[in-house]
Amino acid sequence: MNIIILILQFIFVPIISPFFIGLIKKIKAKLQNRQGASVFQIYKDLWKLLHKDEIISNDASWIFKIAPFIVFGVTFVVGANIPLFSSNLPIYLSGDILLIIYLLSVGTFFLALSGIDTGSSFGGFGSSREMTVSAIAEGGLLFSLLTISIIYGTTNLFDISSGNIFASNHFILSIILAFIGFFIVLLAETGRFPYDNPDTHLELTMIHESMILEYSGKRLALMEWASANKYVIFTSLGANIFLPYGISYNTGILSIILGILFLILKISFFSFIIGVIESRIAKFRFFRLPDLLLVSFILSIIAIGLIN
């Protein structure tokens, strides 16, 4: 039974992530009075890309060739080491918040390098923008997670997700502020509105899409899939740390199934909110983004200040 849970934990993020990207697209389509593609369309896209031949730029070096594997591999490792449907796993890496944040940075590092590597101006500017946003988002991300860590007295995500956060009303305001801070960073890190437009290849608006512009075939599939994984990683962090309802505390089959259902429900809820946001507001001008990220940073600092 333990083995099955472990395997499930490892493959859960990559298996489920395309579904949620499809779900957001579906929600947006419905809000725009369109029929929209099926929620499983992303799986079909990935399958098709994986079976295509590739063209690689002759200016590219081995960094460009290996980056998709590292970027995807990092999301795979991180996805296996955060609480998803169960807070009680037989083994895990460490679940330490700093480790998770810095591991995700490894992915960002190679993603940005691969954008520069082909010598295209789109890729270079995409990398510059990506690094700018992620550098400024780092403070908010760390502090919002730190707020919760301080409340629980541990930085281990599994221990955090197994506690009942609303046991005492004492910290409720801190938690809400930290959650708002986290949500702002979530939008930035997963490249959603108002930071980035995941649907366009228009050079004025794009960050993520311009970095992967030169990829094709298998490597493009891995890059797209990795960004879907990152979306699920961030939303499940938000779901399990700030709203830890329904997560399984033991290894019983029923509670695991319940945990999975709850997680899917919570991420769908996040996806719905993001879908609504993307349909309602416009993308921000690039130089207004730091303001928003600093808001997240300051909210999280206030949240920590309120604990003491």
Binding site: Y102, S120, E138, L146, F287
Partner: protein, 683 residues
Amino acid sequence: MLHLITSSIGFYFVLSAFLIGALGSLILSKNDKYANIWSNFFSILGSSTGLIFAISVMITGKTFSFKFNSLYQHLLSFAFNIDMLSAFFIGIISLIAIFCSFFALGYVKHFYKNYNIGALGFFYNILIGSLILVVTSSNAIWFLVAWEMMSISSYFLVVYDRKDESNVKAGLLYLIMTYVGTAFILFAFLLIYKYTNSFDFSIIKSNINLIPLVTKNFIFIFFIVGFGVKAGIIPFHIWLPLAHPAAPSHVSALMSGVMIKTGIYMFIRIFMDILQPIPVWWGITIIIIGSISSLLGVLYALTEHDIKKLLAYHSIENIGIILLGLGSSMIFNSLGMISLSLLSLMASLFHTLNHAVFKSLLFLSAGSVINEVHTRNMEEYGGIIKYMPQTALFFLIGSMAISALPPFNGFFSEWLTFQSLFQGITQLHSSLSWIFIIAVGSLAFTGGLALTCFVKAFGSIFLAKPRSQEVKSAKESSLSMRIGMGFLALFSILLGLFSGYTTILLEKVGRGLSVFNETFSSISISGNQLFKLNNGFSSIGASSVFIFIILGILFIIFIFKYLVNRDQKIKTGKTWSCGTELTPRMEITSTGFARSIILIFKGILKPSLQSDIEYHDFQSRYLPKSITITFKVNNVYSNYFYKPIQEIFNGLSMKVKKIQSGNINLYISYIFIILIILLYIIL
């Protein structure tokens, strides 16, 4: 054998190797090749025995002190004290010096026939030897002698490439700043002497109660300025980004990796050992200095497009991170939370070691790139990864380590630093915990910005198309240079993988200080390098992190490369550039890459954009002939710190000028008046 190594004989052997190396290379200076081999052979010999010496002292715990010869009624005695802390720093110095010397064997070749190689070897050996003297001497006067030897030998190395006017200027600034620092150090030691009547560190330490608190605070400030100049803390850092790039690259590596750490060594020696107990505000000051240095250091690094200046600014940033650990250690120490204090000191020592490794690695690989492309301007690089693949790999490892990416060594020391700051937030009360919140915030932003800066550096040096003809003729550097870089890269991985063992060793080093003699450990390390804070706040396992990352990525490569669609065809083609021919001018430059961050932080960096347009017809101003745009970042500290000081000094000089009439009778009357006043005071 071990007995012989961990004694004064072993120590003399190390020093004499450097002395022979120095003198021998002067004698051989007629022949460039022999001088180079001689000097580097002896520096490798000296530093490898130094490393063995340091490790044996640290492992056996056999510390010792000795002095020979007292002059002038024990004012000056050549006293050495090799305790755990000194041994640790000897270890760092030796470790870096070994690989810098290997690198020098190949690197110095391009100076042949241009400059005197014998002199380079002489000052290089003297520098390493005096670094070891600085961290072992236990008498203030003798310490100052060693300190000056270090400063002067490094000055001559900075101005070694003297045909470049700017290097000579940088050297002058370095010399001035160093002497300002030394003056403050001297003054602090004199103040200590006034109360304790001794220059000997151990006597000062036992008589420390004789110094009143107010004087102690002044001593603290003088030491901060004095050693802060050498460590390169902001705002005393202005010499550092100019002097480090000017020196030959293996010397820059030594200066950035090791020499600035002597400032940190003296901070630890004086604040954590000699001047104990210390008030809380000292630690707060150090943390604030650390936060400012780390944040501003990385921001200024982002504005640079000179590769070595960029690295020099990163040294300032990392000194800031080290000071964050040291400052929290001092705060915990003053509050009596000794085991947390030990934890923070370990974090700061660990980062000192790690920074020495990856910063010298980066400087050496930058040096080998400069050696091939003959410029330090990153805008003229590009695509070097195809011409120098191994150097690129070493630089990549260095960049990942300095950006604190797991599983390299930088991550684990930053993790420990973060943990000690987190403990400050959770365990202390409101006003003090805010200091720690600020520190965590600056450390978090520093991490993100450093990552950006190294994406910029690696991207614009090694990736995309070559931006100048020089790049296309670049070749992989020689074997000895690759040995130097390769081993440092290996050490950045090993120190990450075995961070548990390293931490155990560092704890032993910390316990060597008398404040921590009987401290309970606040961290436990189990078999597979798993660190655990004893109050259960955090834990991390170095080897499991390593295995997870490597296996995870290999698994992904295996599945997607060999299982899914195995017979996929891969063609190469052109990069899409909207149908035009792709030229190197289209790719992003390092200035362009960092521009958005510079604009975001324009409140601090004060960037200015100056454009000069020349028109064909000045009257009509329709057809510009040429447009020159200059991006500049204004130096805040020079505008608001150095300029006012300079103005005050100029103003004072102008006032003093008034009493100088040129009339000799007047001067004699001045002397007379002074004499009377002095007699009055004395009698």
